[in-house]
């Protein structure tokens, strides 16, 4: 395995984060606390061949998000995101 196939784009976040939040996280907009880049989470560089899921800023490489899933519980670290703008369905 080479480094080029150790990671994918942010669409790899869709499954694990949808399980937690029931929202389409890949279209959420995030701001990196390190370099200030703002963009859809789908553009993050995601490393999921690991004990957890790690999403890194495509600009500076900082960890934006970490997710660890254990039996019956999950841990989420969003310290690398200044904010996360989530799409919310309109109320009928």
């Amino acid at each position: 395995m080479t480094s080029s196939n150790l990671s994918g784009d942010g669409n790899a976040l869709a499954g694990p984060l949808h399980d937690l939040f029931r929202v389409e996280v890949t279209t959420a907009i995030g701001r990196c606390t390190n370099c200030g880049r703002e963009g859809p989470m789908a553009e993050a560089r995601v490393f999921d061949h690991a004990p957890g899921v790690v999403a890194r800023c495509p600009e500076c490489g900082q960890v934006l998000l970490r997710l660890v899933q254990g039996p019956g519980r999950a841990w989420l670290d969003l310290r690398g995101l200044a904010y996360l703008q989530l799409p919310v369905p309109e109320q009928a």
Partner: protein, 199 residues
């Protein structure tokens, strides 16, 4: 060169099919990483050990490779459930690197090129239990597996064996590392199946 140690000799005497609970056997060598593989020129490489009193030891690549080495055959157990048996490594024992260093520290925090960290009790790095490995299966360690040099602590889950090791801090107080701070067990003994907090 010497082959070590009492612990691993004992492990080899067990039936080869015996695995820690929840593990399955693999024949390949899966690559797991929390970030991109760093490109490290040997001319720029360094290994630093600092004590809790700021005593510092530093090796460049040539200095590190001039140290006595050991070859070891050990089993690897990844917290993602795969185990690989009878892997062959060459490296410098932490006993060699720490020899004569005055310390009363109880813990170590290991930092890699790329920023990964992991923590463990200092006693798990000593007494022929840990190496800075630079050769795997007779070949220079590939970057994807942690080359030019990685920590090898085979009696704990493999996330403790930090790839691309750069800095070992000896500390009075424990400081959870990259995975230990987010749900993974602080110690990580595969034979006790210490995967997550509270296991």
């Amino acid at each position: 060169m010497s082959t070590v140690s009492r612990g691993f000799r004992g492990r080899r005497e067990r039936p080869s099919v015996e695995l820690p609970p929840g593990q399955y056997l693999v024949e390949d060598f899966p690559v797991l990483s929390a970030g991109p593989t760093p490109s490290i020129e040997l001319a720029d490489w360094e290994l630093v050990i600092t004590s809790e009193t700021d005593e510092q030891r530093r090796w460049d690549w040539d200095g590190f490779r001039a140290l006595p080495t050991e070859t070891v055959t050990v089993d690897l157990h990844c917290v993602t459930h795969w185990s690989k048996l009878q892997t062959g490594w060459e490296g410098v024992s932490l006993d060699t690197l720490l020899e004569g260093l005055e310390t009363s520290a109880g813990f170590a925090l290991v930092t890699s090129y790329g920023g990964y960290t992991t923590n463990l009790p200092l006693e798990d790095l000593t007494d022929h239990k840990a190496w800075i490995a630079f050769r795997y299966d007779g070949e220079e360690l590939e970057p994807e597996h942690g080359g030019p040099a990685r920590l090898l602590v085979p009696h704990l889950y493999l996330w403790k064996s930090a790839k691309w090791v750069r800095w070992i801090q000896l500390l009075d107080t424990d400081e959870p590392g990259f995975w230990e701070s987010l749900g993974y067990h602080n110690y990580g003994d595969p034979w006790q199946e210490q995967r997550f907090w509270g296991d």
